[in-house]
């Protein structure tokens, strides 16, 4: 996957996407989207509009029922991910932070959680130790390193979830409702973290209905309506200024 040249720094290219969990009702339908390198793209939509499903498709966890999803120029299909090399190369480049931190923190201690991803991707012992130290320091959670997830507050869990992906050093961050359930101070901290990732030329796609967060960090935005269709796509400032779109998507 590293050798693939992708067009004009295109990270994701989604066209005519259809996905359904039960084969009858769509979770996403007729969806189009592109994400370029270094962009911070907000995926806006009300609850149940298909935002989380989209992120899981972009992370190669679910696969398009119809249409095409490409990442770094290659189509994301179940067959492609059966190839260990493809899987490892993709996982090294793309990291997903789940909405529910309890789902993401499945190991007994913070340290092991942060070490999990690089270990699975066969990073050497010394580098794993370095990456874990660095991620714990960056997120200021060193003192939590031997704590069990059930002993952490919501804000601490979110930091650990971010650290568990940061240790991968991904090029692309996928964040599912990153500010959900966080107190104002944690949201401020999260905003700074996302801006810092953007300044480090990382691409970010995040699903949210937190318009304040979109205003603070997103360069572009796309909006899903309650029928799971793409309602609008464009510069984040333009989308936020369009009251009609926000009303139609049940965001205000």
């Amino acid at each position: 996957m590293n050798d693939v040249k992708f067009q004009d720094g295109l990270i994701f290219e989604v066209s005519d996407l259809y996905y359904s969990y039960d084969g009858r009702r769509p979770a996403l339908e007729d969806f189009h989207m592109t994400v370029r390198a270094g962009e911070c793209m907000a995926v806006l939509g009300s609850n149940g509009s298909g935002k989380s499903t989209l992120l899981k498709i972009l992370d190669g966890l679910y696969f398009a029922g119809k249409g095409c999803v490409r990442a770094f120029g290659q189509e994301l299909t179940e067959e492609a991910f059966q190839d260990d090399d493809f899987n490892a190369a993709f996982r090294r480049r793309v990291g997903l932070v789940f909405q529910d931190s309890d789902v993401q923190l499945f190991l007994p201690s913070v340290w092991e959680e942060v070490a999990f991803a690089p270990l699975q991707l066969s990073v050497g012992r010394e580098e794993v130790l370095e990456r874990v130290e660095s991620a714990l320091s960056t997120l200021n959670i060193h003192k939590l390193h031997d704590r069990a997830p059930h002993q952490l507050s919501g804000g601490e869990k979110k930091r650990v979830a971010l650290a568990s992906v940061l240790s991968l050093a991904p090029e692309v961050w996928l964040l599912d409702e990153p500010s959900a359930g966080l107190d104002p101070r944690s949201v401020r901290w999260l905003t700074e973290f996302m801006l810092a990732q953007g300044q480090a030329s990382k691409s970010i796609v995040f699903a949210t209905h937190d318009l304040q967060l979109v205003q603070s960090v997103a360069s572009r935005a796309c909006v899903l309506d309650e029928e799971h269709h793409l309602l609008a796509e464009g510069a984040a400032a333009d989308i936020l200024a369009n009251e009609q779109i926000l009303l139609a998507a049940n965001l205000i």
């Binding site: 260990d84 490892a88 996982r91 990291g95 789940f98 789902v103 499945f106 999990f116 069990a148």
Partner: protein
């Protein structure tokens, strides 16, 4: 909660009490494992091996004096490891009568030997029987004490990881660790479910209603645990997991571990030799 004890508690209240008690016990046990003490400073793998060695010595010993000495060693280790003595002794001796006591009871009467005590209806407790029963009780109590010390002075997760020293496959250890992790999550979920149900009750539900609630709650919890297990697997895949987990062994033997290991080895050999 005090009100709960003032009348016979219903299903919801009993469940809440049990869940809270389980969570409290878990927090208390973890707090002992985090104290500054001898056993807490010892490498968990070594603790597993030395505990097995001591269990071997206890079970090979045919001498009451040696068993008493080994029980004394368990008490000494508990004190040096900042385990509250009263809690430790109670935990062992409250459990013994229920399990071993019932098994041991007939030994008092059926073992042939000189009479020690004559009871009504011609029942006799023999000296040999009493000695055999005491021997078995002390052996079980000492073994349980050693096992409890290991569990109290080692965080559950470290202990599971240390089981790798017994050649337990990594995937089994990972499953055990995740089970422990998600039992906590589901306990909290169950607690919230029962609290929310309790907050909306205006009268004590009937037995049939309680059974319906219990079945409904069990169903919801089962559904939730299935959903969580699906999402956890996705999150593992997302971070590169394929079919076998790669883990990093962070255990390191220190000088204290070597001294402790040597001392326990010597004591076990002496105990086996004296108690043969």
């Amino acid at each position: 909660m005090n009100k709960v004890h003032s009348r016979r508690a219903g299903f919801i209240e009993r469940t809440l009490i049990e869940i809270n008690s389980t969570l409290e016990q878990s927090v208390f046990a973890e707090s002992i494992a985090r104290r500054d003490g001898l056993l807490q400073s010892i490498d968990a793998r070594l603790k597993v091996l030395t505990t097995l060695l001591l269990l071997l010595a206890i079970n090979l010993s045919h001498s009451l004096a040696v068993l008493a000495g080994l029980y004394g060693l368990a008490l000494l280790l508990a004190i040096l490891s900042a385990v509250p003595a009263g809690f430790f002794i109670k935990r062992v001796w409250l459990f013994i009568p229920f399990f071993t006591g019932i098994v041991v009871l007939p030994v008092f009467f059926i073992t042939p030997g000189p009479a020690l005590v004559h009871l009504p209806l011609g029942v006799v407790i023999t000296q040999t029987g009493a000695q055999a029963a005491l021997f078995l009780l002390l052996r079980v109590a000492t073994s349980v004490s050693m096992a409890i010390l290991l569990v109290l002075c080692t965080s559950w997760n470290t202990l599971l990881k240390a089981l790798g020293v017994l050649r337990l496959p990594g995937v089994v250890i990972l499953i055990l660790e995740m089970t422990y992790r998600y039992i906590h999550l589901l306990l909290h979920t169950a607690n919230d479910m029962f609290l929310s149900r309790q907050s909306r009750l205006i009268r004590r539900p009937s037995g049939a209603e309680e059974r319906r609630m219990a079945a409904a709650n069990a169903g919801v919890l089962l559904g939730k645990s299935l959903q969580v297990s699906h999402d956890v697997y996705l999150s593992m895949q997302s971070r590169g997991f394929r079919s076998y987990p790669r883990t990093l062994d962070r255990f390191r033997l220190q000088k204290l571990d070597l001294w402790y290991g040597a001392a326990i080895l010597a004591l076990a050999i002496v105990a086996i030799w004296l108690g043969r």
